[in-house]
């Protein structure tokens, strides 16, 4: 009975609370104790007293009701709280691994390959080429956005053998 007193006052831990609630449902004398202790508290606080038939009537009506089956939201929330961070971590690792394994085996060689034509103006329109070279950092076609402004670009005409 002392456990019921503690239960009513919220003095039990989570597991003990669960155990006592389970006992309350199994043992009618404990349920009577629960009811009487609540009655005492209500009497001390001068709550209204209902007729002696009240609880019996509610119980009889509950017996006629089909059992409800709720969503158990709290349980799902608790589960989600523990599993979501793990799932996020696994997903992150998976993405990184996928990106790593997607790179072709000769990737370093490709990175060292010469940049295509934009840096090599054709002799026929050298004026335009100078303009393009001077402004190529603003070109949307570059694959190195934001880096070009820190690079020094040069143009060479190899046909004259000059450097």
């Amino acid at each position: 009975m002392e456990k019921i007193s503690q239960l009513i006052d919220g003095d039990l831990g989570q597991w003990e609370t669960r155990a006592q609630i389970a006992r309350l449902e199994r043992e009618p004398e404990l349920a009577d104790c629960w009811a009487t202790y609540h009655l005492i508290g209500d009497a001390l606080r001068k709550e209204i007293e209902l007729g002696p038939e009240f609880t019996r009537k509610v119980r009889a009506q509950l017996d006629l009701e089909p059992a409800v089956l709720g969503p158990r939201v709290r349980l799902m929330q608790r589960t989600a709280r523990h599993t979501l961070p793990i799932a996020a971590a696994v997903a992150g690792v998976t993405v990184v691994a996928w990106l790593a394994f997607q790179a072709p085996p000769n990737a370093p060689e490709l990175a060292l390959a010469p940049t295509p034509s934009i840096l090599t103006p054709s002799p026929s329109n050298a004026g335009v080429a100078d303009y393009l070279v001077a402004h190529q950092e603003f070109s949307p076609s570059t694959t190195m956005h934001g880096v070009a402004s820190y690079m020094r670009t040069v143009s060479a005409d190899e046909s004259n053998g000059a450097r």
Binding site: D9, T17, C33, L44, E49, G51, V58, A67
Partner: protein
């Protein structure tokens, strides 16, 4: 565990189809809900009917209860709506939301006004219970009486009571239990007269 968490556990059990868990919530909140509803339904028989209906509606609505608010706040809201609908159906004026708000429903206090809504039968039982509780309280050793008053009327936690009474928390636990047990013993003959009618 807090009171709210204990209620939540009972709700979750009821949501899994355990009616007995809901019955425990009924025994816990029936008088508080009736007191709330008697604030605007004067007839005690009607108060009982509406309280009963509110509990059944709450039970039916349990699948939609997600624990966003405390169970009693949710229950009180259902009680108030049930009472409003009842009064409207009777052609009486229902209280407006500004007159009565479920948010502060749990804190209202007009006990003197409420005690006279009882029927003769309820009033007799209520008086017998109150008399027995009061007499037993007066006869309790001072430390037991103080402990249970601090808990039940002032709503202090065991920790706070231990501080106020300058004693270990285990002593507080024991004193409150002994006080309850003593009063329960004195109430037993009274309650056993209708043992099959009570839980």
């Amino acid at each position: 565990m807090s009171d709210r968490e204990i209620d939540q556990q009972l709700v979750e059990r009821a949501q899994r189809g355990d009616k007995r868990a809901f019955e425990l919530l009924v025994t816990k909140y029936q008088r508080k809900l009736a007191r709330l509803l008697s604030r605007f339904i004067r007839d005690s028989a009607e108060v009982e009917d509406v309280t009963q209906e509110a509990f059944i509606k709450a039970y039916r609505a349990l699948p939609s209860f997600r624990g966003d608010s405390a169970f009693y706040t949710w229950l009180y809201r259902i009680g108030i709506n049930t009472a409003k609908n009842y009064l409207v159906a009777l052609g009486r004026r229902a209280p407006t939301t500004t007159e009565f708000d479920s948010e502060d429903a749990e804190n209202f206090d007009d006990g003197d006004q409420l005690r006279d809504v009882n029927t003769p039968e309820n009033e007799l039982l209520s008086k017998q219970i109150a008399k027995t509780v009061n007499e037993t309280m007066d006869a309790l050793p001072e430390e037991l009486r103080t402990a249970i008053v601090l808990r039940e009327i002032d709503g202090l936690s065991y920790d706070e009571i231990a501080t106020v009474m300058n004693c270990p928390i285990g002593t507080v636990r024991s004193r409150i239990f002994r006080a309850r047990d003593t009063i329960a013993e004195r109430l037993r003959p009274l309650l056993e007269t209708s043992k099959d009618k009570r839980w």
